[in-house]
Symmetry: C2
């Protein structure tokens, strides 16, 4: 399969659904809806929704059915970026080469747009029109909420913030940050897609291993990119994590060991997919792509 | 029935459930969980959870079963207060006589605690342990999320913020703010309790009228209290809405007309309850109490 074509097609599917499912920019309150749309359509790579759809496909599910859940993941991810960028948090002026939400709409609107995007995710996840087994959908909502909450993403962001500039942090703490701040949502994306696709518990366990290893590899790759990438590639200042004293994998174990670890994790992800047939090829290709984009 | 005893007993039930359902203050990240608990236990009157439980009872449901949903409503309400109080929003130092969340924990933690409380609400609403009809629970999640989102509470807060200090605003705009910023969540509390209690569509329609009229009466009563109440009663500066140029009912139609309108709305709420038996007495008592607390 050609991953580029697949990703392009999938991103278009997600973008169209996001456009259809989000309130119009003209709908009152217009500044709020405009602000929500601004960040949703600011060039995200749609990693979480694509993983969700691919996991759904891998177990023989219909990805169309999983589209609202895929969009919900992107909304949660986007809300977290808007709030992370706020002056009281990371105080970032640019993201992916664009002005951050609060630089365009002001802090108050950015806070509310983040709140509304998080809430909109649960509106989508519970829509009557989606159909499917209500018990499975409740489980998906629970898993996603748990992954996004104080024991997941928000908890990871809190610890990341606390540890910033505090000098030496150890691998255990960095691992906590990685698995919570980004890992939890990636794991939940894969699991949600699998559950909505009708996965059995064994398939779900295998795909969870895939999600965990892919998520960590993705985070390490991101850290490596921050060291090696150009400002143009990143859409933010290269080396900005380092400059800010943010804990990263390369800073703790070195660049070469980080690359090796990312490779190992991708191999573990591929191993987890061994029992699956060719319908899991998109998941395989995505895992391999994560480390390739650094070379 | 004695409303004071009823409210006291119900508040204790909700407080105990909140304490049981929220992560421990000692659980990592401790500052985040401490901050979430600080605002949850800062003296809220538990209006929304009590309404939810009372609506569940009114249709013959078991209020114990509805407790997680009742707690979820209080979490959503509390998150909205934390974010509203932020320097970029209303910039309030005190609420109910206590220092606001960001004054105690800092802005970044306050933002994250709000995010986590909103998310925790959906964790609770989707818990497997709760049981009950999954389709009804999905519907409840959808209604609550919709009421809390950009077309509900967050939308109301956005318009309220935009209109502040802009001089004359008309009754239509004030009504939008009231029905969205506070009304939507009160309506959703009543409807959620009714749905979880097994209400038929006719009962649900009647209770929705009760929720809408009670919600608006409650908001007008709050506006009146801001004019007439003492600083001690309010836990914030009396007349602070006026000083800030915030749109209020008394400012637009006068104090006497506001009181009359609140009375009318309470009567409409009681009329909506006419088809219900004595199990709706708590709902009746709550509606009557709303206007009495001003006299």
């Amino acid at each position: 399969m050609d991953l580029k074509d697949y990703l392009k097609q999938r991103c278009q599917l997600v973008d169209k659904a996001l456009d259809r499912l989000l309130p119009d920019a003209g709908e009152l309150p217009a500044a709020l809806h405009g602000s929500m749309r601004y960040s949703i359509f600011a060039g995200g790579k749609r990693v979480r929704p694509v993983l969700l759809l691919a996991a759904c496909e891998a177990v023989g599910g219909d990805p169309e059915r999983a589209l609202p859940a895929a969009c919900a993941m992107e909304m949660i991810h986007t809300y977290s970026l808007i709030h992370d960028d706020l002056p009281a948090m990371d105080d970032d002026d640019f993201r992916r080469g664009n002005a951050t939400n609060h630089k365009v709409y002001g802090e108050a609107t950015a806070i509310l747009a983040g709140d509304a995007l998080l809430t909109e995710a649960f509106i989508l996840l519970s829509r009557a029109e989606v159909g499917g087994d209500p018990a499975a959908r409740l489980r998906v909502i629970h898993e996603i909420a748990h992954a996004a909450g104080s024991r997941g993403m928000v908890g990871g962001q809190m610890v990341d913030m606390e540890s910033e500039g505090k000098g030496e942090i150890d691998l255990a703490l960095l691992s906590y940050i990685h698995t919570h701040k980004t890992g939890a949502l990636i794991r939940a994306s894969v699991r949600a897609g699998a559950i909505l696709g009708g996965a059995g518990e064994r398939e779900l366990a295998a795909l969870t291993r895939y999600g965990d290893t892919t998520g960590l590899a993705f985070q390490i790759a991101d850290d490596i990119l921050d060291v090696e990438g150009t400002t143009e590639q990143l859409g933010k200042d290269a080396g900005s994590d380092q400059a800010r004293g943010k804990a990263t994998y390369p800073a703790l174990v070195g660049l070469e060991a980080s690359k090796q670890r990312a490779q190992e994790l991708v191999q573990m992800a591929l191993d987890a997919l061994a029992p699956f047939d060719e319908r899991a090829d998109p998941l395989r290709a995505i895992a391999s792509y994560i480390v390739k984009r650094n070379s």
